[in-house]
């Protein structure tokens, strides 16, 4: 499978010369299988460019939303395939305790926030509420599991017959740690990330920044590395970069992560446009 990062930024799109290498678009990752299945994970502003890379003759697309914070859905209305009437689009995401996925999405995809309503999209749209599901989509086996972040939020584990990738864009496992990660049974997200070939994980803060933002739902880069090592991930992409971090800062954080991970886990820079084949 090929995994492409179309948006790596967290919280707010941050375009500019100072973020050109790591990118300014918000969360969106494409997982494309050998048989042509395309999974779009999160629909931040990066999804707009992905729309131009989708083959026009595709019959089905699946969009997996981790949660419905704005930086993860703001690109939906700009994703071209949603306006193709010959395409079947499936959107997967968590409901809340009181609102279904459709009602939650309609809060954004309706005036005054957006001129086009969910029901007016041209594609053949199906919504799926995710709980702790395991489903088969094309050649992929997809598992969702709720993880530590404010509001209903899932991480996804996507596997084919040869490899697995875990996507946990917004995740603060350290909130449920004592003095470091405990047993797998008590580690948020362990079942999603265990032994994956590629872990794409929240690394929004430095350790100093995290100390001022505990409970906000995001991770310090040090905790991200600890989580990767604890779960046995082979490769790690630090992700969901803070809008205030420029390329030089992210270079330093990536280097720090590489040093911390040593030879146990390969750390790849979370740059927009990068493709990893696993």
């Amino acid at each position: 499978m090929k995994v492409t990062l179309w948006g790596t930024r967290g919280s707010l799109a941050s375009p500019g010369a100072e973020t050109a290498r790591y990118g300014g678009n918000t969360s969106c990752v494409e997982v494309r299988g050998d048989a042509g299945t395309i999974l779009v994970v999160d629909a931040g502003s990066g999804i707009r460019r992905l729309g131009r890379a989708v083959p026009r003759d595709i019959h089905r697309l699946d969009i997996l939303l981790t949660h419905l914070h704005m930086d993860h859905i703001q690109g939906l209305g700009f994703f071209a395939p949603l306006y193709w009437d010959d395409v079947e689009v499936h959107i997967w995401g968590p409901a809340s305790v009181t609102l279904g996925l459709r009602e939650r999405l309609q809060r954004y995809l309706s005036p005054p926030l957006f001129p086009v309503r969910l029901r007016d999209l041209d594609c053949r749209l199906t919504l799926h509420e995710v709980t702790r599901d395991e489903v088969e989509i094309g050649e992929f086996h997809v598992r969702a599991s709720f993880i530590c972040h404010p509001g209903p939020t899932v991480g996804y584990r996507i596997a084919d017959s040869r490899a697995a990738v875990a996507y946990m864009s917004d995740h603060e496992p350290a909130l449920a740690w004592g003095n470091g990660p405990g047993s797998p049974e008590w580690t948020s997200g362990y079942d999603v990330a265990e032994g994956v070939d590629l872990l794409i994980h929240d690394a929004q803060y430095t350790a100093d920044e995290y100390a001022e933002r505990i409970g906000w739902g995001h991770s310090a880069i040090d905790d991200t590395v600890t989580f990767a090592l604890h779960t046995g991930a082979r490769r790690l992409v630090p992700y969901h970069h803070d809008p205030s971090h420029d390329d030089e800062q992210l270079d330093r954080m990536t280097a720090h992560a590489r040093e911390a991970a040593a030879s146990s886990c390969e750390v790849l820079p979370g740059c927009e446009g990068a493709t990893v084949t696993i």
């Binding site: 809340s96 993880i147 909130l175 449920a176 049974e185 948020s188």
Partner: protein, 130 residues
């Protein structure tokens, strides 16, 4: 054992920061965790007992009513909360694993996930007047 649900993981973390004695069980009644204040009541550290099946913990602490008769397992608040999926409250005496008798008030409630799945139950203990 597989990973617990995030709701249970966060409950355990919360319990570890509170001064109220707290028990957490899974849907089968297996005791998953009790915090330090509960350790003081029960007379043994969780690290020493580890997870315990319901029939094991329900008898280990020897709950007895005011007239000295054993409290049936199915009348314990945690067991009722799991069975009825409704809060339950009662008072009884226990003899902790340290051999000391204590009078406890117990309130238990089920843990329902946002999707409506039963994840277990929580019990809060107060040491009542003797």
């Amino acid at each position: 054992m597989g990973q617990q649900g995030i709701e249970v993981i966060l409950l355990r973390q919360l319990a570890s920061y509170l001064s109220m004695p707290i028990f957490i069980v899974d849907p089968t009644g297996t005791l998953l965790y009790y915090n330090e204040p509960a350790e003081a009541l029960l007379g043994q550290r969780f690290e020493e007992t580890g997870a315990m099946a319901q029939d094991e913990w329900a008898t280990s602490f020897r709950p007895i009513s005011g007239d000295g008769t054993p409290v049936p397992e199915d009348q314990l608040p945690l067991v009722r909360a799991l069975a009825d999926r409704h809060p339950a409250h009662t008072s009884f005496w226990i003899e902790g694993l340290d051999g000391v008798r204590r009078h406890l008030s117990v309130t238990a409630f089920p843990i329902d996930s946002q999707s409506g799945r039963l994840l277990g139950a929580v019990a809060l203990f107060w040491e009542a007047a003797p």
